[in-house]
Each structure stands twice: as C-alpha cells, then as structure tokens.
Symmetry: C2
Subunit: 107 residues, 2 copies
DNA sequence: ATCGTTCATCGTCGAACGTCGATGAATGGA
DNA sequence: TCCATTCATCGACGTTCGACGATGAACGAT
C-alpha cells in the first residue's frame, strides 16, 4: 500500500534519463532561477525533515511567500510534497532533478 | 595580438569548475529559463556561423527581441559576441556553460 | 561622400513575477 | 466540542519580463 509519491526518492542513474524538450527544460530552469528557490532546494537536500514551517524558519520571507516558492518548485517537478496531518512534508524529486541535469548537459 | 574574448571557446574539463554561488546560479538559470533562449543556445552549439541575423532568421521573433535575448545570454556569461564589421558574431561561452552545469550538479 | 546593411538601444504596453497580510480549510489536542 | 496550529490560497501592489516598432550608430561598398 505504498503511495506512488514517496518522500526520500531514490537517486537516479544519470544515463537512464532522457533530455526534456525546450519548453520543459525552460520551465525547470525558470523554477530554479531565483535565489530563494535554490536555497530551498539546498535545504531539502541537506535535511531529512522538510516540513513547510522548517523552510519558513530558515528563510527571511513570509510564510505565504515560501509556500508560493514551494508550489513553483513542485509544479516544475523538482520537489514533491505529501500531506502529513496538518503539515506538508517536502523533499527533493530526484527524478525531476535528473531530468533537469540531463537537459542542461545536452545543451 | 589575440583578443581575450575569442569565439570557438575550447571545451572545459568538468572537474576543473567550481560551483557558483546562489545568486550567480540563479541568474544563469533564469537566463535559460525561456524557450527562445534555449533555442538560441542550441543553434549556437550546432553552427559555427553565428551572426545575429542568422539567429533572427531562425526564430519567429522580431530582430529587436532576438537582440534582447542575446544580450541576456551574454550578460549571464553563457555566450559571447565579438564585433565583426557591421555584424556581431556570437558563440557559446563554454566556460560559462560549464559553471552552470557545475552549479546544477551541486544541487 | 553617400547609401544600404546590420545591429543595439529606447519607449511602450500588457502580462507575469515576487512579496506581503489576511483569510479559511484541515487536522490534532485539550 | 472547542481551540490552536499548520499551511495553501486570495487579493493587492510594485517590479520585472517579453514583445514590438522606431531610431540611430557603425561599418562597408559604391
């Protein structure tokens, strides 16, 4: 009964990733085209606990702003979040990040 | 009397590149966060001739718009252009692209 | 010297972005 | 049952982006 979207996504072999089309790659690049979102990605990479409140506590931004950045990263496929009671737990989407890397590498 | 900024930049060994800070990485990612600019990068990677007019001819955009995209890519350090008479010849900045790759890889 | 070509820059305009506070839904605890 | 906590969403506001046409500078050719 494991869910399809799991936190702690396993890493992905770099060679098994197809480069995305231009629009997808542009959308992903745009998503990380903001220092706060890069900080969030780095935070999620270095922590195993990744609830929204934790991210808010680490950034000099309002809660609503952080939530917005999380939404952008999630819609770009770079992170994923699962509801955990009243909280939302976020983590890196390793597959999405691999797609981004493949797209950049193919430039 | 060779210029410091040369077209046909040699490729760079991936391990010799330091990952940029968050602001620089964000700026570079933002620069490729648009389909037209990805198309330009791809165009420059596949051609040895890379004058502005050639790029304009390949894209469904006005000359001024293309010039603007080229400026953004240049200021992000992803391409470089040298004046060649009345023309401007652009090419990939391999070092800049390597920095971007290193930054993405370090996420 | 004049003209045509090439390109960057400027001004403009609508759309999208980034930020915030306020609001409300959902959940768990008292 | 009621209340506090957590978080996404909404509305507002100023800023930036993306696109265009117009303009003018720089250069080569005639």
């Amino acid at each position: 009964m494991s869910d399809t979207t799991e936190c702690f996504t396993p890493p992905v072999a770099p060679d098994s990733i197809a480069a995305p089309d231009d629009d997808t790659l542009a959308a992903m690049a745009k998503a990380i085209g903001h220092p706060a979102r890069i900080a969030i990605l780095r935070l999620l990479a270095n922590r195993e606990t990744c609830v929204t409140g934790d991210v808010v506590a680490e950034l000099p931004l309002a809660q609503s702003t952080v939530s917005e950045h999380l939404r952008i990263l999630r819609e770009a496929g770079l992170i994923q979040g699962e509801i955990e009671g009243p909280r939302t737990r976020y983590c890196i989407n390793a597959a999405g990040l691999a797609v981004l890397r493949a797209g950049i590498a193919a430039l």
